[in-house]
Symmetry: C2
């Protein structure tokens, strides 16, 4: 298998060992829960997580101003309720815990169970569920993808401002329906735990509307020039995003070189200009990946002063660069 | 071609357009020269560059505390002397200009010609040449690879401290022979300007000691477990690095996911521990890439307080994260 790994059963533990060697602000507890070494003494604690394979999400966002804990499941596999409960108990300081969950059946179920278990131990817990992927038409079934990183950042900012658990949940519930993403892939992810590719695709084709686990998208097409690909993605997003001022994330899927993300950025900018949209902030890089999938996703959020401030306030995460 | 590009003739210009859209602190002059919008009013100006395809190097390091300009050649092609001269003239403020050049014949020749042309215009110019790749045994022929990024950072730091051109050159000449790198690849880069892969390799093999343009290395081997790969790389580096305290860069080659760079980090750390080496600082990420090549390089620098301070002082580059 063309991977820098030792053994498929050690992928997650080796990755977390390596991450905490280079990033001195975090540590691993309960085998797969990443927390800040300096636990926050007050304020709502923000917990997220899910299957691994999306690095730097989620563990890389455990940092001042973002997450207090990330619960890391095996590759593309939801973490179990007991691990989520460990995370909640480790970070709660009496001001309550907010769970940021991507909308996948396993994640939603396991985070919900953990919430119930924590509440039985008198910890205040609330949950928000991210469903930003417009490639799925049924809004209740929409997957949580790269827009989740915006939720991590805004949640961490609001917690640091001293907002209450109820207020943070309320503000995020207003923000969530405005975050819209869509992705595409040129190549599938090679899943280290199985040695299998996430999907089959020939050398001439691409998948539009793909999920971050290689889930089927809107359409399989012959590969096109990047400007035409961008046109397809923007068309889907602008069916739902009506704001004139936007914040835009150009997210690499794991194996896409920065040069190509920059080229995508040029055409997104050009086409949004043509549609009289004004981009107030760009985020370009690998934020929510799918192992070594080649491809890109776009996330649009309507600009507001409040969201801009929340996103541009500094964090100690080495992976949230603006 | 499985690439997010429009036209191969536009790869460089599209990339620079996109880069300067998302990164508001830089701009393009003379078509392919990236400079800081806020030109430094005093102090030595640091200029680097070379062929493109190594992003974020070099343009991404044009930032406070690092480079004042990056001269961007076409993919894997040296920039021409006239462009280098444009960069020198754009950034010189009377305190002189230092050129940081990777040891490739075309780069060395063209930067040298530009230096001579600038000197004829009474601009003080000095050059340092980076030759950190231990995969080449003849030291005079060694390629400049990921260690170049350390030179950018230290040079920018010394310039900001107000050191003279002569002093910066002298300090870098002391540092340069201590920086040692070696790389490996699982897959070749797909070169957008030709549509060809940089080299041929089968599904079971890897190349040890590869250069950042896919140049042949020390040995073609069957793919091994990451701990054995790391052992090979470290063995080559420790032939030359005798210090007990080190600074280590684990550099992705462009298509290597962060999860795998973290796994590499674990085994580098473990094996250096076994050899009683103490790593004082880790840099893990994509610093000097080879388009979409999958692979990793390691760079070792002996730790000193001075180098540590130079590397950890903040820069405004979004791509130099420590």
């Amino acid at each position: 298998m063309k991977k820098l790994i030792k053994d498929k059963t050690q992928f997650l533990s080796d990755m977390l060992d390596g991450l905490t060697i280079s990033n001195k602000q975090i540590e691993v507890i309960s085998d797969t829960v990443v927390v800040r070494k300096n636990k926050k003494e007050k304020g709502v604690a923000i917990v997220s997580g899910g299957g691994s394979g999306h690095e730097p999400a989620h563990a890389g966002y455990v940092a001042e101003g973002m997450l207090d804990a990330a619960v890391c499941g095996e590759v593309f596999t939801s973490p179990t309720p007991d691990k989520i409960l460990s995370a909640i108990k480790a970070v709660d300081n009496g001001d309550g815990v907010l769970l940021v969950v991507k909308n996948y059946a396993g994640d939603v179920m396991n985070f919900e169970m953990a919430q119930e278990m924590a509440e039985m131990e008198d910890i205040q817990v609330e949950t928000v569920v991210v469903k930003d992927d417009v490639a799925v038409s049924d809004e209740t079934q929409r997957r949580g993808v790269a827009g989740t990183v915006f939720v991590h950042k805004v949640a961490g900012y609001l917690a640091d401002k001293g907002e209450s658990l109820a207020t943070i949940k309320e503000k995020l519930e207003q923000l969530l329906p405005t975050i819209k993403s869509i992705g595409m892939a040129l190549t599938p992810p090679l899943v280290p735990t199985t040695g299998q590719y996430g999907f089959d695709i020939d050398d001439e084709s691409m998948e539009i509307g793909i999920g971050i686990h290689g889930e089927k998208g809107l359409a399989r097409k012959k590969i096109e020039s990047v400007d035409l690909i961008v046109e397809r993605l923007i068309a889907e997003l602008l069916k739902e995003v009506k704001a004139k001022q936007l914040i835009v994330m150009v997210n690499g899927m794991g194996a896409t070189p920065l040069s190509e993300l920059n080229i995508v950025t040029k055409y997104v900018s050009q086409q949004l200009d043509d549609k009289q949209k004004d981009v107030k902030l760009w985020l370009v890089g690998d934020y929510m990946t799918s192992l070594d999938m080649e491809g890109v996703s776009l996330t649009f959020v309507p600009y507001s002063e409040a969201v801009y401030e929340a996103l541009t306030t500094s964090t100690s995460s080495p992976y949230f660069n603006i």
